[in-house]
């Protein structure tokens, strides 16, 4: 799941009132939420306002109202208020630290909730909102990210008070952040929001919990407003028994909706038992997450990032600690100097001919794009509603724009940093970690400032799970095993040891190739490809071969291993066009896409393994080999949603995650259920790796542009209109924002922004000022910070995600 805590930045204060700050839980337009402790060790979630708006009376009033609403809802249905100082220079509010995931994350990672859980959730939320209503407070912005699932019941945090005072600009288009996600039709029409509006929103939340998406979908604000006011809700995946009552709650006429008490009665009416804890109504995976968070909070060490060094690589002083209100003696922080390059750069592989190890960086395997974005998303629900973009852009969220409408980069990093083929950028704890010739480099996601560099770790052997960095280190004696180490997020230096894999060989063979390759890390497990030694520690001979190994980061030992059949102990050279072996951990499944390998089979395959024991759940060979040499290799990123995994190539194909069977396939002539031959007179259709969001799959079609296809059934929704010059690239998946879908084009020379509303190209973004530079082939998306970060030959840069 997404990491709950991030390090403090160098300009976060040391404390507020009696509470010393320990870590960041999240940040939004209005303020920041921290984990903090008093001198007695009592831990709280501390909400504050951004210093720059703390003087404005309007914002201070909002803050006070928020604190009042939190007190009204109380500790049973919300986070208990422990302490507050609304009159302080920078007002703050301390509440209990709730041990449980936000509902949106729970659904995203653990799947839609079963009927029983939805009923229990609904009944409890009815009581919670009833409590608010009886004190003449309406919520206005109830949504899944504002509801935490604790073992004793759902807790509502964030009361959307931001919209209470004079902020009735609900029909303002542009900043989706200002739009309540589950707003009622009357709200969408500019009318007042009443208790009946909260009933509507509650139903929307329950539909999301039951099906994974809201009743009116997501997407661009103007479309959403229209659908809410005039469209029919989509309750297709909601359990049948709940549909009638939820439909009534979603009635356009507020008077036709049931009241809270009535709704509570209907939801609870079929609960199989009375009483019982809320926890018993939750699925095992959510309970496991609650258990995990209960333990994890005790492992958080206070730490603070150093101030960014001035200048470029290696010259920063990097000393100093918190510069806010502190005296420099912050809990757990210290001064850091970036590590100078103490070791020679990793050697380039030499020689040709027989390789017995994975070629350096050739067998890249990057956890799927959406996984990265989510992993970097930070704290989720604790971010404040309202306000504009995160720091770095103007408060109303707009970025400065060049002629033609393309935004200027929010930041750029010096061009000398980056070369091809290095560590694909990882998002870890608010930093972007990648590498250059000298070693690992970490940049701050928001500002682009360099945080640290380190040459200690071998960037070929590094991966991250959004929270920590891991390195696979070969043990000192040749042929004597492998250690998994963690890297310090403040310096990139090797920190602790997560465990050993004594059966596997990490040493180089012959021409310097390593015999281990990290694949992905998520959910407490690190996946790597590795080769067994000849004999284990007790000198018993081991079966020789290559394996995918699952290393349990919490139990500190191997969980399972499964052979990689296509690589025998010796094989001929890979050549330069071998595809990536992609691995993507999902809930309950590990997806692997095996590359096209001429030595075994020309087919590309996808498999799902059980992450608990490596058992193959299903195997699919969905993609007939394209005889066309232009066909892109199996994409580096596997696009997935809750139901399917999607691929490009000759057609856009969707496989069911449950059993690997094809759900549908799409190609430009229309949807075909069976096998269809391409029109022999035309160059066969070809699609790049897709991206999926809000129930729509987007893919670039060769020489034509973007197509958007329904995720459930493969029905064509729209095609990009107007010129698609330059031609879209077929090796990079599109990035989906609120207003635009961004498509790499022209051989990575630019990013085309296609409007989701008009389906036309809105503008093209080019990175200027550097002759060789293009927009790059690697993108990471940090959704909470609303950045697209690109990295290519020309350097790294960030543009706003709109």
């Amino acid at each position: 799941m997404a990491p709950q805590h991030l390090p403090l930045t160098h300009d976060d204060p040391v404390q507020h009132g009696p509470y010393r700050l320990v870590a960041r839980l999240g940040s939004g337009g209005m303020g920041t939420v921290y984990l903090a402790r008093d001198s007695g060790g009592r831990a709280v979630a501390l909400k504050t306002m951004h210093a720059r708006i703390a003087d404005e009376p309007e914002f201070r009033s909002r803050f006070r109202l928020e604190a009042d609403a939190a007190r009204v809802i109380g500790g049973r249905y919300g986070a208990e208020v422990v302490d507050a100082d609304p009159l302080a220079r920078t007002p703050w509010l301390a509440t209990e630290y709730v041990l449980g995931p936000p509902l949106d994350e729970a659904v995203e990672y653990c799947g839609p909730l079963p009927e029983e859980s939805v009923r229990a959730l609904g009944a409890a939320l009815c009581e919670a909102l009833g409590q608010l209503h009886s004190s003449a407070v309406v919520h206005r912005d109830l949504k899944p990210s504002n509801i935490l699932l604790s073992a004793s019941g759902p807790k509502v945090i964030d009361f959307g008070i931001a919209r209470a005072i004079g902020d009735d600009r609900l029909t303002r288009t542009g900043t989706a952040a200002g739009t309540p996600a589950y707003m009622s039709p009357e709200q969408a029409g500019g009318l007042e929001h009443t208790a009946a509006g909260d009933v509507f929103a509650l139903a929307g939340v329950l539909v999301h919990a039951a099906s994974g998406h809201g009743p009116f979908g997501g997407g661009q604000a103007a479309d959403l407003l229209y659908r809410v006011r005039y469209g029919e809700p989509d309750l297709g995946e909601v359990p049948e028994a709940l549909v009638p009552v939820l439909l009534r709650c979603l009635a356009k006429d507020p008077a036709a909706r049931p009241g809270m008490a009535q709704l509570a009665a209907e939801l609870a009416s079929r609960l199989p038992r009375d009483g019982g804890e809320f926890a018993e109504a939750l699925p095992d995976s959510v309970l496991a997450e609650i258990g995990r968070r209960s333990a994890e909070v005790w492992r958080i060490e206070p730490h603070r990032l150093p101030p960014p060094p001035g200048g470029t690589f290696g010259t920063g002083t990097g000393t100093g600690t918190g510069t806010g209100t502190g005296t420099g003696a912050t809990a757990g922080a210290g001064g850091y100097t970036p590590t100078q390059a103490a070791y020679p750069a990793p050697s380039v592989t030499g020689g040709d001919g027989v390789r017995t190890g994975f070629p350096r960086r050739k067998l890249l395997a990057v956890a799927g794009g959406s996984g990265l974005a989510l992993a970097a998303a930070g704290a989720g629900a604790w971010a404040w509603a309202g306000g504009g973009g995160a720091g770095g852009t103007a408060p109303d969220g707009s970025a400065s724009r060049g002629p033609g409408g393309a935004p200027e980069p929010v930041w750029r990093a010096a061009t000398s940093f980056f070369t091809d083929g290095d560590l694909p950028p990882l998002l870890v704890g608010g930093q972007l970690v990648t590498s250059n010739r000298e070693g690992l480099v970490a940049l701050d996601v928001k500002s682009g400032d360099q945080q640290w560099t380190s040459a200690e770790a071998d960037d070929n052997q590094v991966t991250g799970d959004g929270e920590r960095l891991y390195e696979i280190v070969a043990e000192a004696t040749k042929g004597s095993g492998v250690t998994i180490r963690t890297l310090d997020l403040r310096t990139g230096a090797r920190a602790g040891e997560a465990g050993r894999l004594p059966d596997f060989d990490g040493r180089e063979h012959g021409d310097g190739d390593r015999t281990t390759q990290p694949l992905a890390a998520a959910g407490g497990v690190l996946y790597l490809a590795a080769r067994t030694r000849e004999a284990n520690a007790s000198n018993r001979p081991l079966a020789q071969g290559w394996y995918v190994v699952a290393f349990d980061l919490r139990a500190h030992k191997e969980r399972w291993r499964r052979p990689l059949k296509q690589y025998a102990t010796s094989f001929a050279s890979f050549g330069d066009d071998v595809s990536a072996y992609s691995v993507k951990p999902l809930r309950g499944r590990l997806l692997l896409a095996r590359p096209r390998n001429d030595y075994e089979s020309p087919l590309q395959t996808v498999a799902a393994w059980d992450p608990r024991n490596g058992e193959v759940m299903w195997n699919a060979e969905p993609l007939p080999r394209e005889l066309d040499d232009d066909a892109p290799p199996l994409p580096r990123q596997l696009a997935t949603d809750l139901r399917h995994v999607y691929f490009g190539s000759g057609r856009v194909t969707a496989l069911r995650l449950s059993d690997g069977k094809e759900a549908w396939r799409y190609e430009s002539a229309g949807v075909r259920g069976g096998h269809a031959a391409a029109n022999p007179d035309e160059q066969p259709a070809l699609y790049g790796p897709p991206a999926v969001r809000d129930g729509v799959v987007y893919a670039a079609e060769r020489n034509r542009g973007l197509v958007a296809v329904g995720a459930r059934d493969g029905r064509l929704l729209w095609k990009q209109k107007s010129g698609s010059e330059p031609a879209p690239d077929l090796d990079v998946p599109p990035v989906v924002g609120e207003k635009y879908v961004y498509v790499s084009a022209g051989g990575h020379r630019c990013l085309t922004a296609v409007s989701r509303r008009t389906h036309r190209t809105a503008w093209k973004f080019r990175l200027t000022g550097d002759g060789d530079g293009g927009t790059g082939e690697r993108f990471v998306v940090h959704r909470k910070a609303r950045r697209i970060i690109g990295r290519g030959r020309g350097g790294a840069y960030a543009i706003p995600l709109e």
């Binding site: 402790r37 060790g41 604790s150 038992r273 018993e280 095992d284 309970l287 005790w298 399972w560 058992e615």
Partner: protein
């Protein structure tokens, strides 16, 4: 967390206890007292263990207690002992009781787990606990050590697996039937299967004794009843546990064998809390209700693979919902606890 009792220490070195882990005496026979404590100016929270109140004056006992703690610390310092609480600091200050700390992890003693669940635990939980305990003992024995005090109270259960605690505390008492009779707080421990027969009759504790105790702990976990009786185990575990409980230490399997036996079956179980438990006399005051089964969340994969380690036995669903809720409650309680005035 329970409130502190009158005769519980108010501070131990720099640590201030904020709550008791174990219920009042007599319900959980255990030769130590355990507390959640704050230290380092509120910056750290630990579990701190001290001898029983009635042994406070016994200096020789205090020396042995401290020596066992130091041994425990060294055993785990080189490389982690799996599923075992790692001793961080131990102390023997003059004038005060000896104590040692382990990192705080939200966890309930096994009797507390049964109380939260309302009875004996489901098969999947039993297998997982057995596996974790067997792995811990295998590693401990491989390093030449013997726990000599495995009992329901000594086993803490965290959300992600068991934690074996109280290393050596029983051994420090100098085993002998006479000794137990004089310790009211330990009364009943032999009947609860906490002490293997050869140790009761004065023999030196050895690895087979730990295995016997493992069997007894599982019998307790399956039923909540005292007296180690393998017929209370689910059918698939009965033979194994009976073997662990053999009178003759030579007839008992080694911990590594118990571990291997429990490993191979672990992945075959469905992800559910299993059939409702046998209702049992409450360990605590208050009504006991039979919990209903948690709905299936996913099909289980059958069969093991090359290495089926304990880690996969602790996947979602291994612990019943009420137990997780109780653990989360303890964590929240410890998070929010203020220092005693």
């Amino acid at each position: 967390m329970e409130p502190l009792r009158l005769d519980d220490p108010r501070n131990l070195g720099d640590y201030v206890p904020i709550g008791r882990v174990d219920a009042p005496d007599g319900e959980v026979p255990l030769p130590v007292r355990r507390f959640v404590a704050r230290g380092a100016g509120g910056g750290r929270t630990v579990l701190i263990s001290v001898p029983l109140a009635e042994l406070a004056g016994d200096h020789e006992y205090g020396e042995r207690f401290a020596a066992e703690a130091e041994t425990a610390r060294r055993l785990g310092a080189e490389a982690r002992l799996p599923w075992t609480a790692q001793v961080m600091e131990s102390s023997r200050l003059p004038g005060g009781p000896p104590w040692y700390t382990t990192p705080y992890v939200p966890a309930l003693p096994l009797p507390g787990v049964l109380a939260a669940h309302g009875g004996g635990l489901p098969e999947r939980t039993l297998r997982a606990l057995g596996l974790g305990l067997a792995e811990a003992l295998t590693e401990l024995h491989a390093r030449g050590a013997v726990h000599a005090g495995v009992s329901p109270g000594a086993l803490l259960v965290a959300a992600d697996g068991p934690l074996l605690t109280a290393y050596g505390a029983m051994r420090a008492l100098v085993p002998g039937t006479g000794h137990f009779a004089h310790r009211p707080s330990l009364a009943g421990l032999p009947e609860r299967g906490g002490v293997p027969p050869e140790q009761l009759s004065g023999g030196t504790p050895g690895p087979p004794g730990d295995v016997h105790a493992l069997g007894a702990v599982l019998c307790y976990a399956a039923s909540g009843l005292d007296g180690a009786d393998s017929s209370r185990m689910p059918a698939s575990m009965r033979t194994l546990v009976a073997a662990c409980l053999s009178e003759d230490p030579g007839d008992r399997p080694q911990a590594a064998v118990v571990r291997d036996e429990l490993r191979t079956g672990a992945a075959a179980l469905p992800v559910t809390s299993g059939p409702p438990p046998v209702p049992v006399a409450a360990q605590r005051r208050g009504p006991v209700s039979a919990p209903a089964a948690v709905p299936w969340s996913a099909g289980g994969a059958a069969g093991g693979t090359v290495l089926d380690s304990a880690a996969s036995a602790f996947g979602p669903g291994w612990l019943p919902a009420r137990v997780i809720a109780a653990i989360a409650r303890q964590s929240a309680c410890a998070l929010g606890a203020a220092l005693p005035a």
